[in-house]
């Protein structure tokens, strides 16, 4: 938890012969990184994800066509040399739409997961730290929301909102924070009882200082893992909503609504269905592998060498 200490001053080196060659201690970050590197699947996934993100967010510069460029001479073509993933009903290039769609799907996934994690962490921390009635009330509220089947509720809410990216992020985030809240609450609950927290309180730290500087850093592990896995879940939820016709509407492509468009012509033009789904699958798979790797890396009880 400390930053690397600088080399000891020369006065110390004069007194203690070996002091000049002291190495800076291994910081928390280095330990986590070393453990992460041992998970080959996680590292490969992280690289794949990075490439995917570069490709998708760099779509305006990389994509061979415009995402709404209609070419009526080349409708419904299977994958070929000029259209690497084929074209859809309006002659739009699938690969281009896939890349642009990835921007939105990835953005929604990451943002919704971040949003849900922040809400969950804050509520969980408050609930775990203060306990008592605050805890009870918040937990009852969490239980109520958990009990309602998520997808039907999402369907209802998104059916009457204007389906913009921000709204979708908000809607998905509002129904995803509960898992993080529970984990954070349990973690805060147990951390609160440790001696160093008691010590901090004794020297007069305010509650806010204790939560932010002592409790939360110890809870970071499960939070980060939860956020990572939440990205995968959010991407799947967004694509499910788009598939059902609620969510971002065409012509703006997302991986979900590309699948919805392709459903009608699935028999004769399977490539329109295969590629977007494959994109979702690979992305979520990599995110999950990364989450696994992070889970083991951030767990201080797992040996690091």
């Amino acid at each position: 938890m400390t930053s690397s200490t600088p080399a000891p001053p020369s006065s110390t080196a004069a007194v203690l012969p070996g002091a000049a060659t002291l190495r800076p201690p291994r910081t928390q970050t280095k330990i986590v990184w070393a453990k992460f590197r041992r998970h080959k699947a996680a590292v490969v996934s992280a690289v794949v994800l990075l490439i995917l993100m570069i490709l998708c967010y760099g779509a305006p510069w990389i994509a061979p066509y415009e995402f709404d460029q209609i070419d009526l001479r080349n409708v419904r073509k299977p994958p070929s040399a000029i259209h690497l993933m084929g074209t859809d009903d309006l002659g739009r290039d699938e690969l281009t739409r896939l890349l642009y769609g990835g921007r939105i799907s990835l953005t929604v996934g990451i943002s919704a997961a971040l949003f849900a994690t922040v809400i969950g962490a804050v509520l969980g921390a408050i609930s775990g730290y203060y306990g008592g009635n605050v805890d009870n009330g918040l937990m009852r509220f969490t239980e109520i929301i958990i009990a309602i089947p998520t997808l039907p509720l999402l369907i209802i809410i998104s059916s009457y909102t204007k389906a913009s990216v921000a709204v979708i992020i908000l809607v998905i985030g509002i129904l995803s924070w509960m898992g993080t809240a529970r984990i954070v609450r349990a973690s805060v609950h147990s951390t609160k009882r440790q001696d160093f927290v008691l010590g901090a309180r004794m020297i007069g730290c305010t509650d806010r200082m204790i939560i932010t500087r002592h409790v939360l850093p110890n809870v970071m592990g499960p939070i980060i893992v939860g956020a990572t896995l939440g990205v995968g879940a959010a991407i799947i939820v967004e694509s499910s909503l788009s598939f059902l016709g609620l969510g971002i509407s065409p012509p703006t492509p997302t991986w979900g609504n590309m699948l919805q468009d392709s459903q009608a012509t699935m028999a004769s033009r399977p490539w329109l269905t295969i590629f977007p789904g494959l994109a979702i699958l690979i992305t979520v798979l990599c995110v999950n592998f990364m989450g696994e790797g992070l889970h083991d890396s951030l767990d201080p009880t797992v040996r690091s060498n």
Binding site: I148, L151, I236, S240, L259
Partner: protein, 317 residues
């Protein structure tokens, strides 16, 4: 034990009330209402008729009053009447419920039959080929979008191979058992995928933990046959957290059913829900979601009771 159950059931009541309030508010917040179905016919409908329609359905009352009217009726078993078909909501739901229950049950059983032995085998033969394959497939199953899996199955088995019908519950005129199974296989497989993936990993982890425990070592050192050690001493203890997870996963079945029924045109509650949503059929929507929530809460209770019963270390707090 009985007191524990009673106490939990009493705790569920405010939970249900809270759920119903939230759902009611969310549903009512939708712009437009059931009078949209009148407008959708394309004919001109005067504002007076629309207002009269809303008044007749009690929709001009303030929302709290509407809620308490619904609550009062619901507590006495009357879930109201569907706006679209004027049938009692309860009857409408009951009509479509068997199809969904059939689907859910099939998916559940399929998942249990495949996932649990797979998990046990993976744990016993750790790092074998089957173990790696199983783990890999689990990751795949969790990452796969459910509806895409359904579409792919339809593509392969209905379109390309022609082995299985792509939608519906039964072919008109054919009520044979084989036909019903052919219709049921794909939807059930799609719905069960997520659970096969999750449960097999959970079972593997749990069984691994058990295999390293002291009592298994004792049983082995007593000279008991390996099969007995595994199945009797190992499995009985490893099954406890898995049973809990299985009961808790019922919650997701509802959401999964909505998508699966949409893809495969399965005539169940999920499709009824989507239809009711487009029609803004409030009583039907309330009925369906309340039923789903009740199922979730009840199975949470079942999970807790199962855990308390099977695990001798858990005391009834």
């Amino acid at each position: 034990m009985g007191r524990y159950i009673v106490r939990r059931v009493i705790q569920m009541i405010p939970l249900f009330i809270g759920i119903s309030i939230i759902i009611f508010i969310v549903i009512q917040a939708a712009p437009g209402g059931p009078e949209m179905t009148l407008l959708a016919t394309g004919r001109f409908v005067s504002p007076e008729i629309l207002d009269a329609y809303r008044t007749r359905l009690g929709l001009d009352q303030p929302i709290p009053i509407q809620y308490f009217r619904w609550l009062g009726a619901a507590l006495s078993g009357d879930l109201g009447y569907s706006y679209k078909s004027a049938q009692p909501v309860f009857a409408v739901i009951m009509e479509r419920l068997p199809a969904t229950i059939e689907l859910m049950l099939a998916a559940y059983l399929l998942a249990a039959v495949i996932a649990l032995p797979l998990g046990i085998y993976s744990a016993i033969h750790k790092y074998s080929l089957l173990d790696y394959t199983g783990t890999g497939l689990s990751f795949l199953g969790i990452a796969m979008p459910v509806f895409w899996f359904g579409l792919m199955l339809q593509l392969i088995f209905s379109v390309q191979l022609g082995w299985l019908p792509s939608s519906g519950r039964e072919t008109v005129g054919d009520t044979g058992f084989v036909d019903q199974v052919k219709h049921l296989i794909m939807p059930a497989t799609v719905l069960s995928l997520l659970y096969i993936a999750g449960w097999s990993r959970y079972m593997r982890t749990s069984f691994l933990g058990v295999l390293n425990s002291d009592y298994v070592r004792t049983a082995r050192s007593k000279g008991l046959p390996e099969r007995r050690v595994m199945l009797v001493h190992g499995l009985k203890n490893a099954a406890i957290p898995v049973v809990t997870i299985i009961a808790l996963d019922v919650a997701g079945l509802f959401s999964g059913a909505v998508i699966t029924e949409t893809i495969f045109a399965w005539p169940g509650i999920g499709r009824l829900f989507i239809q009711a949503m487009y029609d803004r059929d409030y009583p039907l929507l309330m009925g369906i979601i309340m039923m789903g929530s009740i199922m979730v809460v009840v199975f949470n209770l079942v999970a807790d009771i199962a855990n308390a019963t099977l695990d001798p270390r858990v005391s009834y707090d």
